[in-house]
């Protein structure tokens, strides 16, 4: 059985088939990229997995468990974290508290304990903080710890969003266009981090990306979508040479 599996996943808005009977599987420890022109249904697939949308039909399995009916907040508890295409950070909070929200799925303390800030809460806070510091070190975010998000540049926000997802110690991470809006240097950093996430942290990566050089550098496999359907699946080189993919991009 595959690690993560989508079976005949469909999402229809009235007559529009945003996602149309898409099936794919992700193996443990691989980096799988989803590519496709605008409106192909890439982000919709992510929103289906993280339950922002409810699939019209089809099923989603993670670690041999059917997660199609799980409520959205339980998806994170299962170990699936995500980032957003248009950055969804907590604007008026510091970087540190943004990252600590990433630890939410690991918090075990009760409300009354927190009101009194019992020693157990304090100890837990320190454990969370230690984990967050590891991620800060991994992504070189040391200068920004106490800064408010609202004052930070776009490129840094993008990394912080990745950091927040990593703080939840996910098994599978969904990256929605990790390099959009980043310059060449930042994109390079991103590609190293994505590979390190796989090799050092053992995280399985599913990402949507337009930048083909990044896709080629990091992906083990690629899926090409258009009009909500899978056009091709395979190694980056195979997919790029697939006649349907060429037609979709160039309109030949």
């Amino acid at each position: 059985m595959s690690y993560f599996r989508a079976e005949n996943l469909s999402l229809h808005f009235g007559g529009l088939k945003a996602v149309d009977a898409v099936s794919f599987a992700v193996e443990k420890g691989e980096i799988l990229s989803i590519i496709g022109p605008n409106g192909a249904g890439k982000s919709s697939i992510f929103n289906l997995i993280s339950r922002i949308y409810r699939p019209t039909s089809g099923r989603i399995f993670f670690e041999d468990q059917d997660i199609t009916e799980e409520p959205p907040y339980d998806i994170a508890k299962l170990g699936i974290a995500r980032t957003f295409q248009n950055i969804e950070l907590f604007e008026n909070a510091t970087v540190l508290s943004n990252l600590l929200v990433g630890r939410h799925r690991h918090s075990t303390t009760q409300l009354w304990q927190e009101l009194l800030f019992l020693p157990s809460v304090r100890a837990n806070e320190k454990v969370h903080r230690r984990r967050v510091e590891q991620v800060i070190e991994f992504l070189d975010l040391e200068p920004y710890r106490d800064k408010l998000i609202s004052g930070l540049p776009y490129g840094v926000r993008k990394v912080i969003e990745l950091a927040r997802a990593l703080c939840s110690e996910p098994k599978l991470i969904l990256l929605d266009e990790p390099s959009s809006g980043l310059n060449v240097e930042e994109t390079d950093d991103m590609s190293f981090w994505i590979r390190d996430m796989k090799s050092e942290l053992g995280i399985t990566v599913l990402m949507v990306e337009h930048d083909m050089s990044l896709v080629n550098r990091v992906s083990d496999r690629v899926i090409a979508l258009n009009y909500g359907r899978v056009l091709a699946m395979g190694s980056p080189a195979e997919v790029q040479q697939h006649p349907d993919v060429v037609a979709a991009y160039l309109g030949a």
Partner: protein
């Protein structure tokens, strides 16, 4: 200016970042403790109201400032706390029991208000909470067997562990102060633990909070319940302070006063609740003063600019008529809100921070430091 070198995670957790805070808050506490022996009985009474309003302000900050759920129904929560106390008092229930019962009941009702609020945001939530407040007001007026209707209820003098505590005694003030301090400490504790961070996460991006594993519905209800419970506790003290409660004390205007408390104080920090409470409690005697003295003052000014005695007299009576207009207070509140939202959205506490920074950085302070930054494209689709 002091530079902190953090060497331990504890440095980011503790309530007082360095010893200077301990000293200044220690002095503040000492001043507050000896206040009853220094201030006139009128100012003491105002100080008790500051404590009560600040407690409600903190409650409202949890809900509106930190969880981002606007509420214009807090007068109703205050009323529920007050009436629970007055009702249980009739059956000789001791103070600690009805104090806790009032908070508990208000908290449960707050949670129940929270459930319909799950599907509402922004202005719709405000309307829903206003309707809740109106419903409560109506129930208080009609449910005569319990609330005594529009005639109101008399609240007996507080008796704590066999000792009577009159509403203008120092002990009553200490009780209110203790409730305020405990509320603030509890809220600060909450804000530095996972629940508080989840509240802030919901305020800033529900989608992201959900995708990080925050059960948004549960935490919204929690926030409503905590906020209502604290307001209920404050309601008990409010009832005792007034010694008489009736439905027309808990109108929409009171809810608006609570909103003013946090808007003027500053919605991003608990300091705001206290500063806002001082402002709203002290504006009342100020307005009365204006009402009494302004007509004479303006007539005097007119006279010095050459107005005859008849003209000065008519100016005086016109100004007096204007100053005693019904609803003038509401209009002044409205103007204050508008001015603060436009010119000082960070509130009095924000102003204080700016003044502090000005002196810390002198002469290098830049006005742009607190300028609101451009916010990047934010997707509205997933809301």
């Amino acid at each position: 200016m002091r530079f902190l070198f953090k060497t331990d995670y504890e440095d980011d957790i503790r309530l007082f970042p360095h010893s200077g805070y301990l000293v200044s808050y220690g002095i503040l506490l000492a001043v507050l403790l000896i206040a009853p022996y220094m201030l006139s009985s009128y100012l003491m009474s105002q100080l008790v109201f500051v404590c009560i309003y600040a407690t409600v302000g903190v409650a409202l900050l949890i809900l509106t400032g930190f969880t981002g759920q606007a509420s214009l129904g807090h007068a109703a929560f205050l009323a529920i706390g007050a009436y629970t106390a007055a009702y249980l008092q009739k059956y000789n229930v001791p103070f600690p029991v009805y104090f806790l019962a009032a908070g508990g009941l208000t908290g449960i009702i707050g949670a129940m208000v929270g459930f319909p609020a799950l599907r509402l945001t922004g202005i719709y939530l405000v309307i829903a909470t206003i309707s809740f407040a109106l419903i409560v007001e109506e129930i208080l007026a009609r449910w005569e067997s319990v609330t005594n209707g529009n005639e109101g209820m008399r609240v007996k003098t507080l008796s704590l562990l066999g000792v009577t505590v009159p509403r203008d005694s120092p002990t009553f003030y200490y009780l209110c102060l203790a409730v305020l301090v405990l509320t603030i400490v509890g809220t600060l504790n909450l804000l530095r633990s996972p629940t508080g961070r989840a509240f802030v996460a919901i305020r800033d991006s529900e989608t992201a909070a959900r995708s990080m594993g925050v059960n948004v519905a549960l935490y919204k209800v929690k926030s409503f319940a905590i906020s209502a419970a604290i307001t209920g506790f404050a309601g008990v003290l409010f009832a005792h302070k007034l010694s008489f409660i009736s439905p027309e004390m808990f109108t929409l205007q009171l809810s608006i006063e609570f909103i003013i408390v946090i808007l003027i104080g500053g919605t991003f920090s608990l300091h705001g609740a206290v500063l806002g409470a001082i402002f709203i409690v002290m504006i009342d005697p100020f307005l009365t003063y204006l009402k009494d003295d302004m007509p004479g003052m303006i007539a005097g000014i007119a006279a010095t600019f050459g107005a005859g005695p008849a003209a000065a007299g008519s100016i005086k009576s016109n100004v007096a008529a204007f100053a005693s207009l019904n609803g003038l207070k509401g209009a002044i509140y409205g103007i204050i809100i508008v001015l603060f939202v436009l010119f000082e959205p960070l509130g009095l506490y924000g102003r204080w921070l700016k003044i502090k920074l000005f002196f810390q950085l002198f002469p290098l302070y830049k006005r742009a430091t607190f300028k609101r930054q451009k916010i990047y494209v934010k997707s509205e689709r997933n809301r």
